[in-house]
Amino acid sequence: MSGAAMQRAHSAPGSTTEPAPARDREVELPARSADSREKFTVSIRRPSGPPRVATGLTDLQGNAVTAACSTCHTTRPPDHENRRATDLDDFHSGMSFSHGTVSCLACHDERNYDALKLADGRRLAFTDVMTLCGQCHGPQMNAYNHGAHGGMTGYWDLSRGPRVKNNCIDCHDPHAPQFPKMQPTFKPRDRFLDHTRTEH
């Protein structure tokens, strides 16, 4: 079958951005319809936990040393004014940030940098990041819940098999959520098709 197709869906762009949370775990959600025919469920891919940041160091075995967010942030006072990478004088300064004008601490919890924060101040685990996104992106969330936003694999018919849906951050880098540009790699090569006609 389309092993390649599966592969492609799983390596959707956005997953290459830094910091990269591990995304192995999948969490089952109850199927939307209560129809008893639906024996299987729709699950959403979820990050396995808080991201870890590369330090640029390697250990004795040559492996990269990564650090939890809290490793540094417990030693530094939070600054609510930081909104851009250029605002930062030390770490993360190379990061590209383009997500409206929200401040870093609108989403990151200044009391515990290994977690996220909802608008009402409640703490949120990184694994539940979609709840955070959904606060502002209601229409997208609504569409997502109805299959009209976000990629998926598996079964359309839940009485025959499960379905797995992408997480928001599978495709959108939270710091620069615009879907990245792509280069088409597969084009029709019909005989006599005029390939120069790209504009008129």
């Binding site: 389309s2 109805h146 299959g147 359309w156 879907f179 792509m182 280069q183 088409p184 790699t185």
Partner: protein
């Protein structure tokens, strides 16, 4: 008018024998001319045999069983099984790959619908590639049932679209519109076909019996969506790329000279799975489901989004929808 019967002709023959040769051609005044004529005819026949000699290679590819095979709808289960076995063996011989040919029937009560979110589609063409691989398309021309049009914002006129764009996508002033078989409720291709080689199944999928199609390409002229593809030559697929999960009416390797088209991956979707193009889509622009299920995602889109179909004015009533966010 051409009344003739045996005893009469034999009487004529007898009469002929008594008065000389029967054949009028031999009664011509010049026997040289006659001989020349006969020689000419013989030579002509021989030349004809030589001229059409390339045809003699065909019996290797077209077995007697295949030649005599009946229309799909007339095959009994037993005959189908034998046909599938024969096709599996042929694929093994010609492509060096063990494949299974199945024939999942439509799921009762299900009518398939497909929708594409044009606000999401960015024209990267992953669906085309997935289609090419899933459906055992000819690799030589990167065949696929899908074509993605790059359209100019502000116009729905395909005149301003192109499929041969080659730059990073999406471009600022463009939007992207994949077109494949719209699985029309009222399909002009089916109306056109002179031998009923293509028809609409109960779940709305329009299929082709690749072993019944005579290759007249009338359906290709009739389809308003450029959805049909003809096998101008035998498809080339390396053995390790052949998808062994094949359906008789869907992605089995098609014979040369026959018509094919998108079948909503019926070997997958009739087993409950999503189509390959949908799974491949990195933007999540594609949506597939059962139109008869009021709670299905596709019905939510039809009710909550502004949806349109292509060339609605033609009355083809597609089961394929487009919408914007």
């Amino acid at each position: 008018m051409t009344v003739d019967n045996a005893d009469d002709s034999s009487r004529d023959e007898r009469a002929g024998t008594s008065s000389g040769p029967t054949l009028p051609i031999l009664n011509q005044p010049s026997s040289r001319r006659t001989a020349l004529k006969a020689a000419g005819a013989a030579l002509g026949l021989a030349a004809f045999g030589k001229a059409v000699s390339p045809l003699w290679s065909i019996p290797e590819n077209v077995s007697v069983d295949e030649f005599l095979q009946q229309h799909y709808k007339e095959l009994t289960d037993d005959e189908k099984r034998r046909v599938f076995e024969r096709l599996e063996a042929e694929t093994q011989r010609q492509y060096g790959k063990d494949v299974t040919i199945s024939d999942p029937p439509p799921i009762p009560g299900v009518r398939f619908g497909y929708a594409i979110n044009l606000s999401k589609c960015n024209g990267n063409g992953a669906c085309m590639e997935a289609c090419n691989q899933e459906n055992n398309h000819h690799r030589g021309v990167d065949q696929s049932y899908i074509r993605v049009l790059e359209m100019t914002k502000g116009s729905m006129d395909m005149e301003h679209g192109t499929t041969s764009y080659d730059h990073s996508v999406p471009q600022e002033d463009k939007f992207y519109m994949p077109v494949q078989c719209q699985q029309c409720e009222n399909p002009p291709c089916v109306t056109a076909c002179p031998v009923e080689a293509t028809w609409r199944e109960d779940d709305g999928i329009v299929v082709v019996d690749y072993n019944w199609c005579i290759g007249c390409r009338y359906c290709e002229a009739a389809c308003p969506y450029h959805a049909r593809r003809f096998n101008w030559e035998p498809p080339e697929i390396p053995a390790d790329e052949v998808n062994p999960d094949q359906g008789y009416l869907s992605n089995r390797i098609r014979p040369q000279g026959t018509m094919e088209k998108c079948h909503f991956c019926l070997h997958r979707t009739r087993e409950g799975r999503l189509p390959a193009c949908l799974e491949a889509c990195p933007t999540g622009a594609r949506l597939f489901g059962d139109l008869n299920d009021p709670d299905s995602d596709i019905n939510w889109v039809l009710q909550n989004k502004r949806v349109f179909v292509l060339k609605e004015e033609l009355g083809t009533q597609p089961n394929f929808f487009y919408f914007f966010d």
